[in-house]
Amino acid sequence: MNRLLYIFIFSFLANISFAQVEMQSPYFPESREDGTEWKWKATGNWNEAVNSNSFTNDFVKAIDKSRFLDGQLIDGQLANMVDKTLAGQIRSIGGRFYMNSKKKPGKQYFFFGIEHQHILDTYMDKDLLALFLKGNKPYAGKTLNAPNSEFYNIYFNQLSGGVGYNFDKEDVKQQLQWGISLNFGQNYDYISLKNSMFYTDPDGEYLDVSLSAETKLSDTVWAEFYEVRGIGLSGELLYSYTKTNDFHFDVSFKNLGFVRWNKNAFSGTMDTSFVFNGLENDTVNTGGGSLPSDFDKNALRRLLFPNAETGSFNTVLPLKIGVSAGKFLSEGKLYLGMKADYYPFLKAPLMLEVFGTWNVNNTVYITPVMLYSSYGKLNFGLSLGANITKNLRLDIGSSYLNSMFSGSSLAGQGGFVRLGFTY
């Protein structure tokens, strides 16, 4: 019970889950009430997933909680690093309000909602991480290579609105829902490093560096949740097919759109090899004077990316394609299914779940879940759903119960909370 409570609290506080904001439970496609029996529905969702193929839970937790990473933790982490470290975080927090159509109750409905999304996706070389975590001094005299690393991090908020249709024919129920979202960009960071190399002279007298880097930043100053640094549009689409007590299938597209970041956005590229002896003030050949007089952050950023530009640019949102399907057994008391979420623009694009839901008297739903992801590992979890009252439905769950309580396990943390109220 304590663990269940922990899961709930953890999910609530750390904002963890995986599913998109939707009207139904992710693991049991309930039969929708007859169209004449509800006027409106409200749902709230907290979803988060944190994964890595190399970082441990302790390490990720320390980062997530903004703690101090002590030397033992870092050394232990570095001792078990793979050559290419994948790490990511997908977070969404939001709520939606659905209204049954008065003219076509049960056949048409409308919705609007608000949602905050944060997606972090990184792909890092082992040497680069070592350099980042330990500094260059421990590796003086050695060549560190970073052939391919990327860091992608986006925060944005959505205001959504749309319409859904139900097409019922005997025991087949189809649903089509589409919507459009106004996106408010909050922060965006993208840095890539290709074919790069770093060498420190044992006495620190020079650095031999090859760098091929690209960066795009929404702004050089961190934006808070309520601040807007970019605006864009996106669309979403959902189609589901359910044959009562037989099988279910749905496919969805979300975040099909873009954000245009404002004029303070920063972008730059660098492709160079050089031996850095220190910032030069060559009084013999140039008479000096080439050094910036102001060493604030912007000036130094300009020093790194001398050809950088400041101005608007567009970024596509991290598109998500969801597919879910399953088979009802025992007259709907059991539902065996799979659910796949695919993010084509991320380095770790796939999250695939296989699950089975036991419907206990249409009141309690118990769902063991097995998750496989692009991080190359299996996770196991459990979801619970409950119709607490006639109008109130709660779903909580996590697919990482096998790992999230073991600090030394590879990072796998996450879960979801969904609360639905129907009137």
Binding site: F132, N136, G204, L291, A299
Partner: protein
């Protein structure tokens, strides 16, 4: 000095680097950890022209540098030449020749006289001076008239050969009451004098006019009788010439003992200097258009701080140094091509005089103008504003010894934006690769707004000099490292300081004479070696 600028950069760039590590990421809640950083932060190369003033050195074909010192020791203005003698002349007019009294109406002429009168140089001990032209720089003409008649008179005095502003003749007048003496001094500056007389065929001659009139202001008549008389005295006082032209004759002048202040070593702030095999010349720039013989009686170097005094010794003392005259070029006044005359002092002990770091030079000398007594020429000239100049001209290529050549500098410091919160501990390593055969001892401080020292970046940091081989060439640089610990106090001072102040002493290696080549450099590199709290 350039050093002050790079020291400012040194520290700014170092701390800028620290900012860079946290500055490329946006600020958001983030974890932290310690990293060990080791990196060059700043590098600078200092060449010979950064250490020595360009005007002090000359590069030879083999890159060996010669140090050239050219310092004006003193100026000679031949005051006697540029003065006109204080000439006095007197005119007495008696009316005893009148057979009977004559009534004169107001303004009627009593007597007038136009005449040439020579400047009297001989009386003042100058021989053979024959001036044709002169410009008056300053001075006065006194005009004094005695009137022994029954009524007031108007006296008028004019120098027809003194013209100002192209056409204004020197012309003054004075009313003198009966039985009175009237006297007045008139400013004579700015007048151009034609000294060739009324017929333009002589020298040292001015043309004058004196006129006495019945005062135009009298109501009736002035009765002039045989007992009346008048007296006029005119004399020049303190007349100094801007320019004169003619023949200056053979004349002897004595100068000194006089003291001239020497600023050269004050500028260097040096404790000691010695030149090996220095070529020492006394260079005389004769801007006067007359040749002459100069004889140096004595030159004494004085260090007023230490009290050291040392006199020049050598055969050149008491020798006659012939100096040709300068020439005028073009039409304009003041276009002078001085004759530049070098006299070798290498065989004297002049080098020893410099080693006491004198701030004063005392000298006594004699000069004879026109020693060959050329009485024909009228092309001698001088200008008051262009005195004869005497320079010390010294070239040293075989070795120089510096002892505590001192330099200092202060530059503004703005460290308010330098964030050192994340520096846990560490050091700055200052590495110097020095080809110069000089040792540098340096102190570097941070000061508050009152220029009071807040902290010491380093004190008596020694940068060893390169060691010359048998040929005097440094073939391998010497590497020195100075380590500065980044203490908590220093981190605070870096943020609060308003000025950076340094002192530096330069000495020749091993206290000897060293040659300097143009390819000598000193590379300075600052390396950061510290533990840093990373907060991305």
């Amino acid at each position: 000095m350039r050093i002050s600028r790079y020291l400012k950069y040194v520290v700014f760039i170092f701390f800028g680097f620290l900012i860079l590590n946290s500055g490329c990421r946006k600020k958001s809640p983030s974890p932290s950890w310690n990293v060990e950083l080791l990196a060059p932060l700043f590098v600078d190369t200092i060449g010979v022209y950064d250490v020595f003033n360009d005007s002090l050195i000359v590069e030879n074909p083999d890159q060996l540098l010669s140090f050239v010192f050219n310092e004006k020791l003193y100026e000679i203005n031949v005051d006697s030449l540029v003065k006109l003698p204080d000439t006095l002349f007197n005119f007495a007019y008696s009316m005893d020749w009148l057979p009977f009294p004559i009534p004169l109406a107001p303004g009627d002429l009593i007597i007038s006289d136009t005449f040439d009168w020579p400047l009297d140089y001989e009386t003042f001990g100058f021989e053979g001076i024959a001036l044709e032209e002169a410009y008056v720089r300053s001075g006065f003409i006194h005009f004094e008239v005695f009137n022994k008649s029954d009524g007031p008179i108007l006296s008028q005095f004019r120098i027809n050969s003194a013209i100002k502003n192209v056409s204004d003749t020197f012309n003054v007048s004075k009313t003198v009451e009966s039985g009175q003496i009237a006297s007045e001094a008139f400013d004579f500056s700015g007048y151009r004098l034609n000294l060739r007389g009324s017929n333009n065929d002589t020298v040292n001659m001015l043309n004058y006019y004196i006129g006495l009139f019945a005062d135009p202001g009298i109501p009736d008549t002035l009765l002039l009788t045989s007992v009346d008389s008048f007296s006029v005295n005119i004399y020049f006082e303190d007349l100094v010439m801007d320019y004169a032209k003619g023949n200056f004759g053979k004349n002897d002048f004595h100068f000194g003992p006089e003291i001239s202040h020497l600023g050269f070593f004050n500028n260097l702030n040096i404790g000691g200097i010695s030149m090996k095999d220095a070529k020492v010349k006394l260079q005389i720039h004769n801007t006067y258009g007359v040749d002459g013989n100069m004889k140096i009686d004595q030159i004494t170097a004085i260090n007023s701080s230490t009290g050291e005094v040392l006199g020049l010794e050598g055969d050149i003392l008491d020798s006659l140094l012939y100096i040709p005259g300068g020439t005028q070029t073009g039409n304009g006044l003041g276009n002078i091509q001085p004759s530049i005359n070098d006299f070798d002092f290498s065989e004297t002990n002049f080098n020893d005089l410099l080693q006491i770091i004198p701030d004063q030079i005392s000298y006594t000398l004699d000069m004879t103008t026109n020693p060959f007594e050329d009485s024909i020429t009228r092309e001698h000239f001088f200008y008051y504003d262009y005195p004869i100049e005497v320079y010390l001209d010294m070239e040293v290529s075989q070795g120089i010894m510096l002892q505590d050549l001192f330099g200092w500098g202060r530059s503004e410091w703005n460290g308010e934006n330098i964030d050192l919160e994340n520096v846990l501990n560490g050091n700055l390593v200052l590495k110097y690769t020095n080809w110069f055969p000089f040792t540098f001892d340096m102190d570097l401080y941070l000061e508050d707004e009152n220029m009071e020292v807040m902290d010491t970046l380093f004190y008596e940091g020694v940068i060893e000099g390169g060691l010359p081989n048998a040929d005097g060439r440094v073939l391998q640089p010497t590497v020195s490292r100075i380590q500065v610990e980044l203490t908590g106090s220093l981190r605070k001072s870096v943020k609060d300081a308003k000025f950076a102040y340094f002192q530096i002493y330069i000495n020749s290696v091993e206290g000897g004479h060293v040659k300097v080549y143009s390819d000598y450099v000193m590379e300075f590199k600052m390396i950061g070696d510290f533990e840093w709290i990373m907060e991305p």
